[in-house]
Amino acid sequence: MNSIIFTAGARLLVALVFVFSLFMLLRGHHLPGGGFIGGLLGAVAFIIYSLACGPEETRRALRVSPEGIAVIGLGIALLAGLFSFFMGDPFFTGQWYWVGGDSYETAAFSINSVLVFDIGVYLVVLGGILSLTFAFEEET
């Protein structure tokens, strides 16, 4: 698409949508959001970019191939599940470390394996959707 308005607007939009997708990712679990929805929004950001500048340019901006992103995400999600092995809990049991308290209400924030899993999901969704759309765009 060769519209200068769209290209200029896309620059702004891409950054906004992408930051919002990260916000959604980090907000997840206790509040609406999470890896899946974040990943979709992240994919939307890159799709806007590829509509404005073409899939070639977007692939360059991504640096890693979308399939690679998806597979790495799968690995991260699996690692998050396997982490509970070392704690003696069943597969995928969330491991929580509360900073400054002992529960969601009292703690300032938490370090947990659920977020790691969400990051994995985020990457799988981002990579999966992008590899699909790139395949369509590069077809024509």
Partner: protein, 499 residues
């Protein structure tokens, strides 16, 4: 005890990740091979624990059943997981010889491991919706594997395959939705009680039929099998072997699980339908095979025919019949995967899979001929190979019920199977090559041939071992059948386990 249920699924997934990252290097295929070996070790560990404890269950994420996802394994699940790992390892070795480098670079091994993970997950899950998820994992991986490497034929086959399987998945998913609406649970062990207690048994039977249709497409029973011969003859031989061995069996397994654990309220109705479906499946499959002149197409139709025997074991619904069904399931995976491996090597030697255009293999490759005879005769049910015991158990169960027509059809189909196998033997091995030249095994590098013949020999050895020492396997199948018919242990283990 929890983790032995997880590793057979987690190992192939992890292998897929590493194999994908290393897909551009020779290391990729060795990672896949090492992963398959690890999977086999993990599933052997599962088998050991199951043999010791009977039924084991694990609640994922520490959410108790029926709310969380349960992984559960009884004898049937355990043996299916082990046989999946064995087939996976055999295929991983075979693929070293067959799969060209450009296909490896597309991520062949990652997809293959993903498929194994999906199949294993389907065998281990104790949750109906989770089963649906594993079906999807399998479908995505298998569709990609079907079309990988390109070509018009493959795409054509892939579209038919994916379209019909999507229909099946949709029917299955609608069934799940309705069942959840009626009972309010999707944990299979919990469903047993909930379905029996439901006051709307008519609706339950309708849902049961939806499951039968959904799984029936997966298992390729009459009249829903047409996608199978349309697609199994196009992909790489390693892939069609693993499809032939495992994918339809997941459907049979799901049928066996659901129609012994959950839908047993109206056996007279549901299992009667299954009985006629089985007989028609057996017969149409074998007749379809007789009309084909392509190595893999004949074998594809025979998958259908043999599926009929397994569902027949379920339909007769006696301890002996179910035992035969379980035995048949295991025996058939080994034998059928092996026959597809043989077909691949035969093509390597003689240049085609069209029986009219090849020949002379007996003279030029006597070892391959011998290795073909074992699974082929086992498939047809020759004593003392594994197929004989499988058929014997089913036929005996039918005789015990005085079902003479069923007995007659089973034996007739066995006879017609011999006809097809001798046709392959006659055309591919016995008659001289139509082009007049001697098909020589030397056309491929020795490394390739070695990689392809090793799994064939290994699986043939397993067929012989099961044939000559059936005792432990039959006893195992008997316990498995007992657990299926009386799932009290299954239910209490799933619902009562406190992690």
């Amino acid at each position: 005890m929890n983790w032995v249920l997880v590793f057979p699924i987690a190992v192939p997934f992890a292998t897929a990740v590493f194999a994908y990252l290393a897909r551009n290097y020779p290391a990729g295929r060795w990672i896949s091979l090492a992963g398959s070996v690890l999977s086999l070790i993990a599933s052997a560990a599962l088998m050991v624990v199951v043999l010791r404890e009977g039924v084991i269950a694990a609640q994922m994420s520490n959410w108790d059943a029926p709310f969380g996802i349960t992984l559960v394994s009884d004898y049937l699940s355990a043996v299916m997981v082990v046989i999946t790992a064995i087939t996976g390892l055999a295929t991983a070795i075979y693929a070293l010889g067959e799969i060209p480098e450009e296909t490896e670079r597309l991520g062949f091994y990652a997809l293959f491991q993903m498929l194994i993970a999906g199949v294993t997950g389907a065998f281990l899950t104790g949750d109906l919706f989770n089963l649906y998820v594993w079906f999807e994992v399998m479908l995505i991986a298998s569709f990609s594997l079907l079309v990988i490497g390109g070509g018009k034929d493959r795409l054509d086959a892939g579209i038919k395959y994916v379209a019909l399987n999507l229909v099946s998945t949709l029917v299955f998913l609608s069934g799940i939705g309705l069942l959840y609406g009626v009972t309010g649970t999707l944990n299979m062990a919990d469903l047993r009680g909930a379905v029996a207690a439901s006051d709307n048994q008519g609706l339950i039977t309708v849902i049961a039929m939806m499951f039968m249709v959904g799984f029936g497409v997966k298992a390729a029973v009459f009249p829903l099998f047409f996608w199978l011969p349309a697609s199994y003859h196009t992909p790489y031989f390693a892939i069609s072997a693993v499809f032939a061995g495992l994918l339809t069996k997941v459907g049979v397994y799901a049928l066996m699980r659901m129609f012994t654990l959950v839908f047993v309220g109206d056996v007279g109705f549901t299992h009667e339908i299954l009985l006629w479906v089985s007989l028609l499946t057996m017969f149409t499959g074998v007749i379809g095979a007789a009309a084909q002149m392509d190595f893999r197409k004949i074998l594809s139709f025979h998958i259908i025919s043999q599926i009929g025997y397994m569902t027949l074991g379920l339909a007769l619904f006696t301890p002996l019949a179910l035992m035969g069904g379980v035995f048949y399931l295991v025996h058939h995976i080994i034998v059928k995967a092996n026959l597809f491996f043989v077909a691949g090597l035969a093509k390597q030697y003689a240049g085609s899979t069209d029986l009219n255009r090849i020949g002379g293999l007996y003279k030029s490759a006597p070892l391959l001929a011998a290795l073909f005879i074992i699974p082929a005769f086992s498939l047809a049910g020759f004593p003392p190979l594994s197929g004989f015991w499988a058929k014997y158990l089913i036929v005996k169960a039918a005789i015990e019920l005085n079902m003479w027509f069923v007995t007659f059809v089973s034996l007739l189909v066995g006879l017609l199977t011999i006809y097809s196998m001798t046709k392959i033997w006659g055309y591919a091995f016995w008659k001289p090559h139509p082009d007049g030249y001697d098909p020589t095994p030397d056309r491929a590098p020795a490394r390739v041939t070695a990689a392809m013949i090793t799994p064939i020999a290994g699986l043939a050895a397993m067929t012989i071992i099961i044939g000559f020492f059936p005792e432990p396997f039959v006893q195992f199948a008997q316990t498995a059948a007992m657990q299926l018919l009386d799932p009290t242990d299954y239910v209490t283990t799933v619902l009562g386990v406190q992690p």
